[in-house]
């Protein structure tokens, strides 16, 4: 469902992700663990491109969503003047070669030697967006299928609870206002907050806010949910209600990627654990494997500290 290939991300000098790859299949509940600053949030935020990776590819259901290096795109290379020039030259020099061979040779030469000039950069950007449009690749579209839940809820402060849930489906033309409201009320009933429909977020408790935030994401009928420490900003007595809701979603078969420090929850709900350290996936496996039998010294050290 989501396929991540060798992504790198740095903020200025600070290299945060150093070549992370992984596949997330439909129905999986992937839990990401790791020490603070290891790049867990950054990785999660790359999945829906809230952070743009500097390098590497992210595929969502066979669609490339990263603004990949133009060098890597044959289709785009072909649009360039440099390509046309090289192609002509190659044909002149190698009389009689088949078209496909010439093409391959020229593209590989461009990639090897990075012959595309900077001034063609904006041309590429255009070509890339054209290419993406033609192939139905649109990050806004891709994000509709990926619900995200933030540590600090980020409910829209200027809207009522109901409006928080209906804004996106209505704005994006997925539902009529009536349908959206019906769906929102169904979700609010489910999380037990139907009576709060007309309240503003500032009047809700932390736990209620996070449940509304989850409902807001669900209102888009996402195919996968991304959680970034959904309970870290909550008072202890409110952690349970939020975890219960996430657990319910998990049981219904929702695909999830969860960054959390709740070890018990990770073990219980996760189908796979990724342990991140210094921008890499240091270890991965089933909860039983990783918790009971960690192999990487960093993982062992981490569990010693937190368990």
């Amino acid at each position: 469902m989501i396929s991540v290939k060798n992504i790198h991300k740095s903020f200025g000098e600070l290299s945060v992700l150093r070549g992370v790859s992984c596949n997330i299949e439909a129905g999986e509940k992937v839990v990401i663990l790791g020490p603070s600053g290891s790049g867990k949030s950054t990785f999660l935020r790359c999945l829906n491109l809230l952070e743009e990776p500097n390098q590497g590819e992210i595929w969502v259901e066979d669609k490339l969503i990263t603004n990949a290096d133009p060098y890597e795109h044959d289709e785009i290379i072909e649009l360039s003047q440099t390509y046309a020039d090289l192609y002509a030259k190659y044909v002149l020099e190698n009389d009689g070669t088949a078209g496909d061979e010439v093409k391959k040779a020229v593209i590989s030469r461009i990639k090897e030697q990075r012959l595309l000039k900077k001034r063609e950069g904006s041309l590429f950007k255009k070509a890339l967006s054209q290419y993406q449009a033609q192939h139905g690749i649109d990050i806004n579209l891709a994000r509709q299928d990926m619900g995200m839940v933030f540590q600090h809820f980020n409910l829209f402060n200027n809207m009522t609870v109901l409006k928080n849930l209906t804004l996106a489906p209505v704005q994006l033309g997925l539902k009529t206002p009536e349908e959206a409201e019906q769906n929102a009320m169904r979700l609010l009933q489910r999380i037990g907050l139907a009576d709060k429909r007309d309240e503003y977020p500032s009047k809700l408790s932390g736990g209620q806010k996070q449940r509304v935030a989850i409902a807001r994401a669900l209102a888009m009928n996402p195919k996968v949910m991304l959680f970034d420490e959904p309970t870290s900003a909550l008072d202890p007595e409110m952690v349970g209600e939020v975890l219960d809701l996430i657990r319910e979603l998990a049981d219904e078969g929702m695909t999830m990627v969860i960054v959390t420090h709740e070890m018990g929850f990770a073990r219980e709900v996760g189908t796979r654990i990724l342990f991140m350290d210094e921008g890499n996936i240091a270890e991965e496996g089933t909860p039983a494997e990783v918790f009971d039998n960690p192999k990487n010294p960093r993982t062992i050290q981490f569990f010693k500290a937190v368990l």
């Binding site: 809230l50 806004n140 509709q144 619900g147 933030f150 200027n158 807001r216």
Partner: protein
């Protein structure tokens, strides 16, 4: 004649009254037109300067905006007014009142722009991220989520700016527009009343009344907008 009798005379002499209210009219017209110009200009400049677009057009615009804000905020209003009147719009027959409106509008635009920019930046980045994460594009996110919250944040600052603007328009008397301040001065200089105190005090009361009304209006707007964070 004592203060009281002079006040009565001011408000019962038709010529004086006419002059005072003409002056009031000029002050109000200049203030309102300049405020509208300033708000529109300020909003546009603010949107320009927060744009993340890296296009060449936007970069040039952002450069212009920066220079504009720096110059306007770094020089005295009176000088800006003089330069507009005696240099830029020193065209025969070009109405001074229009020049004055432009000068005050352009001046106030720079301050409004800074207020609005700060207001937009003060909205938590998480609000934008939540909008984008749902698949909304940046324009919708800005219009539906960020700007409404920014407006709430900037209303007090904009209110202060408008109040300052109204009072600052009194310097148009220096380019011989008969605004409220000028009217008071003319009346005071006349032989009949032979007093600056009464017309000046009356003008001050007029200014006070306008500012009070405006403050009241802003309070109401603020209250309405604050509905979303009452606890």
């Amino acid at each position: 004649m004592n203060f009281f009798e002079k006040t009565v005379q001011l408000f019962t002499t038709a010529d004086y009254l006419k002059l005072m209210f003409t002056g009031l009219g000029y002050t109000v017209v200049i203030s309102i037109c300049a405020a509208i110009l300033g708000l529109v200009l300020g909003t546009l400049v603010a949107l320009c300067s927060i744009s993340k677009s890296k296009g060449i057009v936007m970069r040039v615009l952002q450069g212009i905006c920066k220079v504009y804000i720096t110059i306007i905020r770094g020089t005295p209003m009176a000088l800006q007014l003089f330069i507009m009147v005696f240099a830029i719009f020193a065209i025969r027959g070009f109405p001074t009142i229009v020049t004055a409106i432009l000068a005050f509008g352009i001046n106030s635009g720079a301050y409004v722009a800074e207020n609005i920019r700060a207001g937009i930046l003060s909205v938590d980045i998480g609000q934008t991220e939540a909008g984008r994460a749902l698949g909304l594009n940046s324009r919708v996110t800005l219009i539906k989520i960020v700007i409404p919250q920014a407006i709430k944040n900037v209303i007090p600052a904009i209110g202060n700016e408008l109040i300052a603007l109204i009072k600052e328009t009194s310097i148009v008397s220096m380019i011989s527009i008969t605004d409220l301040t000028m009217a008071a001065k003319i009346i005071g200089a006349g032989n009949n009343l032979a007093s600056y105190v009464v017309p000046m005090t009356s003008a001050a009361v007029f200014y006070l009344a306008i500012v009070y009304l405006l403050t009241f209006g802003i309070k109401i707007i603020e209250k309405r907008l604050r509905a979303s964070d009452k606890r």
